[in-house]
Amino acid sequence: MTLDWWIEVVVKIVVVFLVVLTAVAYMTLIERRVIALIQSRIGPNRVGPQGLFQPAADALKLMTKETVLPAAVSKHLFLFAPVFSLVPALAAFAVIPFGDSLNLFGRQVPLHITDVNVALLYILALSSIGVYGIFLGGWASNNKYALMGGLRSSAQMISYELTLGLVVVSVVILTGSFSLVDTVTAQQHGWFILYQPLGFLLFLVGSMAEINRIPFDLPEAETELVAGFHTEYSGMRFAMFFLGEYANLITVTALTTLLFLGGWLVPWPSPAWMGPIWFAGKMFVLIFFMMWTRGTLPRFRFDQLMQFGWKILLPLALVNIILTGLVVTLRS
């Protein structure tokens, strides 16, 4: 716990925080352009070259909008719910490794903020906490659309968390450790998507449901529930939910990359600084895939959604664990 250590940790935290927030802001722009491409139109391209200042304009708009506090809300819960949504989304980056170690300023700097032995469990725990923000926001708004949206969303998130957890179990069977750095180093002889194709698909679909993304976004369905659990939120409070949702998108794609696509591993020998670039590249492929499905697919009806989660995904995840366990036992 020397001064060097403190400086390293604080600098890493600040850098990751800034990079993630910038990425989240530009994710909104990228999403709008990608969806526009799918829908044969252009999307925001006026504010700055190719619309690159659009996120700044959006941020300014949200900050200057009147923050309405409806009279009948439960004040403390209403004000605190977006925090429950945003903080777990950002806190997950404390354990996500972006690369191997780099040699900076004469010391070996590992490219992660921490490397705990329970990193995967920590991320699952944070996603469990994220459920609170949504249904507390929905309930505290004292509004039937918000309440229905909040309840639906939390039911959905709890159900699909099970699938995610079980797929994580099968990955841990292959790795032997809950640490994310160990998971990536275990993929040196082949990315886990080759050994766990079913697991990869389950994780991808489960994480789309976990972050309330189309086709699983019935809790925020504009045509049915006004805006679901964040109906009564405006200005910066809405911005916090919004940021939380996109930060969750980044977290979930980062996790999928780490668990199945080899994290920062490059298929051929390369210098250490190529690792984070490849990591970002793989993440962007997944993010593009998520935006692609958003622009293409209709949304699930809520009972279809729940049936899909409990009757199809959960048994498949259990089968995946059994198969993985069988193969690992028979090979050793």
């Binding site: 439960s74 403390h76 819960l77 705990v116 032995n117 329970v118 469990l121 920590y122 699952l124 725990a125 469990s128 906490i129 459920v131 609170y132 249904f135 309930w139 229905m148 309840l151 639906r152 939390s154 039911a155 709890i158 032997g176 450790s177 809950f178 640490s179 809520f302 009972d303 729940m306 049936q307």
Partner: protein, 180 residues
């Protein structure tokens, strides 16, 4: 520094516990309980049990308390108004609670003097080993109690479904306020 951390967490946990007991709004009480669990989880971290800390958050704060809060929200638990219900008057209730609390604290004090807590930590080596040890112990030495516990949970689930299902009406998949 460890002492300062422990003091902060202990104060937070006790404040949360007092909040659970003294709050009039049931929802705020449940949220205070979540705060207690969070403080306890960090205390587990300080005791070199990160697995237990994460499981505490995932299971207690993330699943059990969500269930409690759903029940409180959907059943619209109103503020407890003291002295309104017929039966035991409020003063007697309060005195009884204080006596029981004093008994529990006294019992704990007596037991902690009689049985010296060794203060021995669990496996002080790497935490993967402790997860491994937990897994081996649970599934080898205590495999039978583990299976019995899971059957118990299954019985509870089936019982809950049987109770809420009535007159052969099927359970729809929608979530909402159900008129019972």
């Amino acid at each position: 520094m460890a002492l300062a951390g422990f003091l902060i967490l202990a104060v937070a946990a006790v404040a949360g516990a007092l909040g659970v007991v003294l709050q009039r709004n049931a929802l705020y009480a449940a949220l205070s309980l979540v705060g207690v669990f969070a403080a306890t989880a960090v205390l587990y971290l300080m005791l070199s049990a990160p697995f237990l800390a994460m499981i505490q958050i995932i299971v207690y704060a993330g699943a059990i308390m969500v269930l409690f809060i759903f029940v409180i929200m959907l059943l619209s638990v109103r503020y407890e108004e003291s002295g309104e219900g017929a039966g035991i008057p409020a003063g007697v209730k309060r005195n009884l609670a204080v006596v029981l609390a004093a008994l529990m604290v006294g019992l704990f004090a007596v037991l902690s003097w009689t049985f010296v807590l060794t203060g021995r930590r669990g496996a002080a080596d790497t935490d993967t080993t402790s997860i491994e040890q937990l897994g081996l112990t649970l599934y080898r030495k205590y495999a039978f109690p583990f299976e019995v516990a899971s059957i118990l949970l299954l019985v509870a689930i089936i019982g809950a479904v049987a109770i809420t299902r009535r007159h052969g009406r099927g359970m729809e998949g929608s979530v909402g306020v159900e008129e019972s």
